[in-house]
Amino acid sequence: MEGLLTGDDDAIRALYARFGRPVFSLGMRLLGSREAAEELAQDVFLTAWRKAARFDPARGRLSTWLMTIAHNLAVDRLRRETGARRPTLVLVDEVPDVPGENEEDVVEERDAATRALASLTEAERRLLTRAYFRGLTAREISEADGTPLGTVKTRLRTAMIKVRRANEGKEYM
């Protein structure tokens, strides 16, 4: 991370090698165009550089920190561009394995994501998708569905607990 702080090429390339594809994939699946996903990737790594001093490994993993930055930036953009058409979300368990994708950490992260998705009911999966991938607040979901706000919040919490438990005790990220 010290190398990243000073804009060192090798440090940036190492970070990109590990997170370039997941960040780009998140951008593609949420924003729907290569142009938007590439802009997102540049913004994510620039933000990581600006905030590198804030990263504390004692408080969390690098993958969590970086993907949180990526998600926040993507959702900010979704909220700004409310009228834009969004692509149908495609999740990891809906496509076959990509040939050549055998780097250990990529496979582990993919497995963890698959376990997390498998732990959810269809309704929980839809709910988390709307909140996490579409940026809808609990209130917006409540109003759209005519479901009490407290119920939506409880369901979101229950779904996130399942995601968390699906990978408890597994050192994957």
């Binding site: 090698a17 699946r29 969390g60 993907m67 992260e109 996130m160 968390r164």
Partner: protein, 260 residues
């Protein structure tokens, strides 16, 4: 906001759908509450799993070069615009600012806020720990001049009205001087009074601009910091004014005693 209220909001916080105002309040709580911070970290990790759950798409081959170029360019611009006396390593200065605002300094502030909620003993203990942490931050930071002098001030309303604040000035013999200002409890300001202007006042009544605080959170809190290539040793007071120039808070700096 107490731990129960924070826990109720952590799921939405980690999903990124909490309102900015509520997210700010939750973040301030997490600065000092280790138990809620641990819970938040676990939820954050679960949320990151969701980020990996989208089906992968291969980026174009030249994206890496564009990313490297963008970061290298931004880093180069920062180096080129660095002040002449910037001998403190950039990483050290950044780490100092963020460590102060996120760990030590923020926790000191949180301790004070908590005291107002009649949890005096626990808050004072946390505040004591924060002060020790602050000491450690200064002792451990790479690139930070060990001979640096820290001055602090409590900022109060001269008219005994609402709000309070804290200022910290770091005088570095070998590099840039730093100044931090945090305010809290300014809940009755009208929109026309923002942004707040933060000024450092020297013994000779000269005024240096630290910066502006454009927005305040629900608790009337906000802050700013700045690096100065010129020496701040003559700065003796800190003043926070509203947009019309009216003094809201002021305080006199004195040398920080870490054993306090």
């Amino acid at each position: 906001m107490n731990c129960l209220s924070v826990r109720e909001r952590l799921t939405e916080q980690t999903l990124g759908v909490l309102s900015p105002a509520e997210a700010t309040v939750v973040d301030r709580h997490l600065e000092w509450c280790a138990a809620c911070r641990k819970e938040a970290a676990e939820l954050q990790r679960a949320a990151a799993t969701l980020a990996y759950s989208v089906a992968p798409v291969e980026p174009s081959a030249d994206l890496e070069e564009r990313v490297v170029g963008a970061v290298r360019g931004a880093a180069g611009r920062r180096r080129a615009s660095a002040p002449r006396r910037s001998r403190v390593a950039a990483a050290g200065v950044l780490a100092a600012m963020l460590a102060l605002s996120g760990l030590g300094w923020g926790a000191v502030m949180a301790g004070r806020a908590e005291r107002a909620e009649e949890q005096a003993d626990a808050a004072q203990e946390r505040q004591r720990e924060a002060v020790i942490r602050l000491q450690e931050v200064f002792a451990d930071l790479p690139g930070l001049d060990p001979g640096a002098i820290v001055e602090v001030s409590t900022l109060l309303s001269p008219r005994l009205q609402e709000g309070r604040g804290d200022a910290l000035v770091l005088l570095s013999p070998s590099g840039d001087d730093l100044a931090f200002v945090l305010v809290d409890g300014l809940t009755s300001l009208r929109p026309g009074q923002l942004p707040l202007r933060v000024q450092l006042v020297t013994d000779g009544s000269r005024q240096l601009v630290l910066g502006e605080i454009g927005t305040l959170d629900q608790a009337g809190g906000g802050g700013d910091f700045g690096t100065f290539s010129e020496d701040l040793k003559d700065v003796s007071a800190v003043v926070v004014r509203d947009a019309r120039g009216r003094v809201l808070l002021r305080g006199t700096l004195s040398v920080y005693e870490p054993t306090a």
